[in-house]
């Protein structure tokens, strides 16, 4: 039997082994990227939604054709909170792809841009991006992101054939909207408002898409909210929660609201089994793809405010492409080239093929005449100055539990006032995590 070695030598060996294991895990796959034949390989990470993957593949193919010495490899991540975690982990370990897509606005602020991202302020395409978009991808003077497509307003998708049949007109105040729903309910043929809590993010629209209305009534609300001076538990913001509870209490929702999914909602409003579906304008391209024969039957209007004069379209800005600081040398040059390509006219045309759901924020891109009427209607709000950014682009605060709280309020599990109050508690945690002053 082998005699045990003295303890000290064992410890030394243990230390050596643990150092070796740390060194091994620290080695990144990226270091094998460049090959000898003068070609540069960069990686590009986008969200795994089917249309995003399709557009990414087309974008890469077009880019590689123009730049034969650069190869781009596509990686995908899930959207939502799972994706957030992945992006944060990748950035903090230095394992991020050379170019990656991520949200703009409050989520962008949470990934520590100054620390983790390469500033793109000097790039020539920055001039073509709408000045109203830039704050959503900037910290101080520095721009870090390039818009990845069109912005996506949130509002009420509605079925025009139902409106025509019942002689209804597009509402601009909440009470008109409620009266329309009463008529639809009395008619008994179709569901007044479709809700799809099987995908809980869709439950938030009564609150999120109402924000431009709040901002129209009280322009300083977002700033006060960030400073812990304005809250959802008080009017005017409480109205958003109250609206959702009222719509439930009125019995406007579809029978299967608790289990239906986003796809069910899109189908219901496209085929006219439901009259209204409060949702993001991305649903218009979903109708275009899945129910092309119904695309002319749908339209979209801004979620009505309490007073018609305050009704604005709430706009969610496009996500953006970013380059992490871990990308250096010739990869950095190639990554910048790729990002610039997405902002070129050719890049725009590829975004367009994937289906547009809202106005572009880049002046090199314009909406063609062939876009669905519903999208043109949204453009009209923007042109008339009747639109405003969603809260997440005006304040870094967004509570993570809003989907669940909205589901509870919209299912009659919890009254609106309690939901709004709990949401304020939720936001407090976010403010503390961000280390904001005044919390």
């Amino acid at each position: 039997m082998i005699e045990p070695k003295p303890l000290r030598r064992n410890l030394a060996a243990l230390a050596a082994l643990s150092v070796a294991s740390i060194a091994m895990t620290g080695c990144s796959v990226g270091s094998f990227g460049s090959s000898d034949d003068g070609k540069t390989t960069i990686t590009f990470q986008n969200f795994n939604a089917a249309d995003a993957v399709k557009a990414s593949k087309q974008m890469i193919a077009a880019f590689e054709e123009e730049n034969p010495d650069i190869t781009v490899k596509l990686d995908t991540i899930p959207g939502g909170s799972d994706g957030d975690n992945l992006v944060k982990t990748q950035l903090s370990t230095g394992d991020m792809d050379d170019v990656f897509a991520y949200n703009s606005g409050s989520l962008f602020q949470a990934i520590r841009p100054e620390q983790n991202l390469v500033p793109l302020t000097e790039e020539s395409w920055v001039e073509t991006v709408a000045p109203s978009y830039l704050p959503a991808v900037s910290v101080g003077e520095d721009v870090y992101g390039a818009p990845s497509g069109t912005s996506s307003p949130g509002g009420v998708l509605y079925n025009k054939t139902v409106y025509e049949r019942l002689g209804l007109s597009v509402p601009t105040a909440w009470d008109e909207f409620r009266a329309n729903n009463e008529k639809i309910l009395a008619d008994g043929e179709v569901t007044p408002i479709e809700q799809t809590y099987g995908d809980s993010w869709t439950a938030q629209m009564f609150v999120l898409a109402d924000f431009a209305n709040i901002a129209a009534a009280e322009p300083t609300w977002a700033a006060e909210y960030t400073e812990n001076k304005a809250h959802y538990a008080d009017e005017p913001a409480l109205q958003s929660f109250t609206n959702q509870q009222q719509a439930f209490d009125d019995g406007f929702f579809n029978e299967d609201f608790a289990s239906a999914t986003y796809d069910d909602g899109v189908r219901a409003v496209a085929t006219g089994t439901a009259a209204h579906y409060p949702i993001l304008s991305g649903a218009i391209s979903a109708v275009e793809q899945n129910y092309p024969e119904n695309i002319d039957d749908i339209g979209m209007f801004a979620l009505p405010a309490k007073n018609a004069a305050d009704t604005r379209l709430t706009v969610f800005l496009a996500s953006a492409f970013y380059i992490p600081k871990s990308t250096t040398g010739e990869k950095l040059a190639a990554a910048k080239k790729f990002v610039a390509f997405t902002q070129s006219a050719k890049g725009c045309s590829i975004f367009l093929e994937g289906g547009v759901s809202g106005p572009f924020v880049n002046s090199t891109c314009t909406l063609p005449d062939s876009v669905p009427e519903a999208v043109q209607g949204l453009q009209q709000y923007v042109d008339d100055g009747k639109s405003g950014a969603a809260l997440e682009y005006l304040s870094p605060l967004k509570g993570p539990s809003l989907p669940q709280l909205a589901v509870e309020v919209g299912s009659g599990i919890r009254p609106a006032a309690s939901g709004a109050q709990l949401y304020d508690e939720d936001v407090k945690k976010q403010a503390k995590q961000l280390g904001l002053a005044g919390w």
Partner: protein, 321 residues
Amino acid sequence: MTETVMHKAASSSRVVESPLSSQKRGGGLKRGGGQKRGGAQYSLWFLLPGAILFLVLFVVPTISSFYFSLTRWTLFDSEFIGLENFVTFFREPMLLQGFTNTFIYALITSVGKVAIGLALAMFLTSGVIARGYLRAVVFFPVLVSTIGIGITFKVLLNPYHGLVNQSLSVFGIEGPGWLTDPHLALLTVAAVDVWKGVGVSTLIFMAGLVAIPRDYYEAATVDGVGGWQAFRFITLPLVRPAMATVILLNVISGLRSFDLIWAMTGGGPGFTSDVIGSVIYKQYQAGFYGLSTAGNVVLFVVVAAITVPMQLAFRRREIDQ
């Protein structure tokens, strides 16, 4: 007459133990080997790989998690904030509901798995036809991925298009919203958990049952003992070590439950089926890394506080017998 049988059974339970409990006591293996000294059985070099893995993968993360639970942590940097995370965690509005749900879930799944597991084990150790096949069938769900089971049952239990409610409607019964009714969601998930996990309990009970010598039952039959009495006075006392293992395992897994609930309801509708695990996970998803680490430390303490005394109590009862 019955008393003699009982006496015999009780006295011999000191000798006859299930394989599980005799293992726990450490057995006689050590004494049998050609050991030179009473000290280490293996060279330290031999233990080194395991020790390193344990150190790097378990000890270091555990200790650092205690530290990070005291910080505001963004993954990029951390700021020491004392016990603030614990204060925030205990103020979490959904915490009480999460704890209540966790205990309800642990209780239902444990009781369900013990009762059904014991019944199945007795059935499968009896002279039933196709015993091997049936044993495999009972154990099969244990082998399937939890997430896979969750997603499958979510589809089956859809209130409008799911197979379960459609089958019920054939008989004119309108099935409830199994996973969408706030009062039912947690119970439904617990029932699926029992279905999925009962195979392990059955297996442990079967091992306990076959270790009971047939003599007792034969003697009892001679004494004219009925089925219920045989169960009550022979089977139940002698299967106790197995039962202790089953209860302990199920309580621990019930308290730590997360994956099935997450796959089936995501803690919903709203927060109605949230357990501690999903409350913590959502905090982690939200990027509150320090706060969720504090939650995990609390969960660790709670699970330990419940299971360690249980473990000790079971052991004491075994020794007392």
